[in-house]
């Protein structure tokens, strides 16, 4: 399957507000796709539809076809299984008020893994993959809340990885972090794309240009343009895209 997600004619309403209009796009496998656009354009809404987090919002209605590797995610697929396959990292780092170990083990434990040895292995592997093992290996049983902001966000990434997803959704993952932590997480994303498909919402144009392979520009709930990142940032086809990426509005 060369496209992890295929979306056709998706529409989303929050009550009467038509938040996403006739969105059709493909998310290719093993690449980083960036979703850009001004505030309120629907990119975060779209991201959250990919793992059905919008189900938690009352009054949210979705029509259209969203498929994960060919399967309709709003069909008979178990929503918890979907969220295992499609992990999420949020804008503000949100480690649980538990130890580092318990944070990482939460996902595997939820999905049935109980044996200590297995959990130990998963915890170490996830922390290594998230480039934070060396910093926490001596304090696995201490609270995760004692870590710095950048470390917490990498912990959240490790936590998402521990559930062994196929896709990682990132909602402005570095907007609350300092430049050095941001750089580390960008490097991490570039490493991760070898094994996972990554979809990232970002406000930072330079970040999208730096690390994404494809970029999708949202405006007022519609997809204006979608294509290779290099093309979007050097020769955008739509004048609205050009105006947005050069900072003339938004």
């Amino acid at each position: 399957m060369s496209n992890t997600f295929t979306v056709k004619d998706m529409n989303l309403w929050y009550g009467d507000f038509h938040a996403l209009k006739d969105v059709s796009l493909d998310i290719p496998k093993g690449q980083i796709t960036a979703l850009i656009g001004p505030s309120g354009c629907g990119k975060s809404t779209f991201l959250r539809s990919l793992n059905r987090m919008n189900d938690l919002v009352q009054g949210c209605r979705i029509t259209g076809d969203i498929r994960l590797c060919g399967e309709n995610i709003y069909g008979s697929m178990d929503v918890n299984l979907l969220r295992k396959r499609v992990g999420m990292v949020f804008q503000k780092p949100n480690p649980f008020p538990m130890s580092v170990y318990d944070n990482i083990a939460y996902g595997p434990r939820t999905h049935g893994i109980r044996k200590r040895a297995q959990l130990d292995e998963i915890v170490e592997r996830s922390l290594r993959d998230a480039a934070i093992w060396d910093e926490v290996k001596d304090r696995l049983n201490r609270s995760a809340l004692g870590l710095s902001g950048g470390q917490q966000q990498r912990l959240c990434i490790a936590r998402a990885l521990a559930a062994q997803p196929e896709v990682i959704l990132m909602d402005e993952p570095t907007s609350a972090l300092d430049p050095i932590s941001t750089g580390r997480i960008e490097d991490l994303a570039l490493d991760l794309k070898n094994d996972y498909t990554i979809v990232m919402v970002t406000h930072n144009m330079q970040q999208a240009a730096r690390i994404s392979d494809r970029t999708v520009f949202f405006l007022l709930g519609e997809v204006i343009e979608s294509g290779e990142t290099e093309q979007i940032f050097s020769l955008p086809k739509d004048s609205r895209t050009e105006a947005y990426v050069t900072g003339r509005f938004g």
Partner: protein, 215 residues
């Protein structure tokens, strides 16, 4: 419209480019006048003026780097600034050619005068090409840019005409050989100026459309 300061910086850049263009076109005019009237004093002025032109080039270059550093432009904005960097290189070469023509004037000093209408025409046309190509860049006028690119053919034709004239002049008066040879070199410099102006017009097209118009 956001990015007011950025647009102001771009406007300042454009103004400096036009300024540099006018400096150089002035230099070309002076150089050809000095050449055809054997005015060595004027020629020396043009040669000294080249330092000014180089200083202006550095100044505009610094402005471009500042823009790149502080604004991190993308898409059209990036093309504009990077084109400006290429354009001042071509302009600086044109300035150098004007100085080179004045060097010839100094060498021709002792030799008899030799006028040539076609040479004057070349000077006029290439000056026009320079100014129009800069305008095409600043105003994003593609028609002007393409006109300049087409005009290069006319300048090349004029060069051939000058060569014919000079060959005829030598046939008529073999003593005029050295003067004629130097004039031919001057004509070659003008032809090169025309090529550089054409390059500037091509960069103007690239800045606007993203495609390089290889003439």
């Amino acid at each position: 419209m956001t990015r007011k300061y950025y647009d102001e910086q771009l406007d300042a850049l454009h103004a400096e480019l036009i300024n540099m263009g006018q400096m150089i076109s002035g230099a070309i005019g002076k150089a050809v006048a000095a050449l055809l009237s054997r005015d060595t004093a004027r020629a020396r002025e043009v040669i000294a003026y080249d330092d000014e032109v180089d200083r202006q080039e550095r100044a505009v270059e610094t402005m471009c780097y500042k823009l790149l550093l502080s604004q991190q432009p993308v898409a059209g904005d990036l093309r504009r600034v990077s084109s400006a960097l290429k354009i001042i290189t071509d302009m600086e070469r044109i300035g150098d050619h004007a100085a080179d023509i004045s060097e010839l004037t100094l060498m021709l000093d002792a030799l008899p005068r030799m006028s040539n209408a076609h040479l004057r025409e070349m000077a006029a046309q290439t000056t026009e090409m320079l100014l129009h190509s800069l305008e095409a860049y600043v105003e994003q006028d593609m028609d002007k840019a393409h006109a300049v690119i087409a005009q290069d053919d006319a300048v090349d034709a004029l060069f051939v005409a000058v060569k014919r004239d000079l060959v005829e002049a030598i046939r008529v008066d073999p003593q005029a050989g050295e003067a004629a040879a130097d004039l031919l070199m001057a004509a070659k410099y003008f032809e090169r100026i025309g090529d550089h102006a054409t390059n500037i017009a091509e960069w103007a097209v690239f800045a606007h459309t993203g495609h390089h118009a290889q003439a």
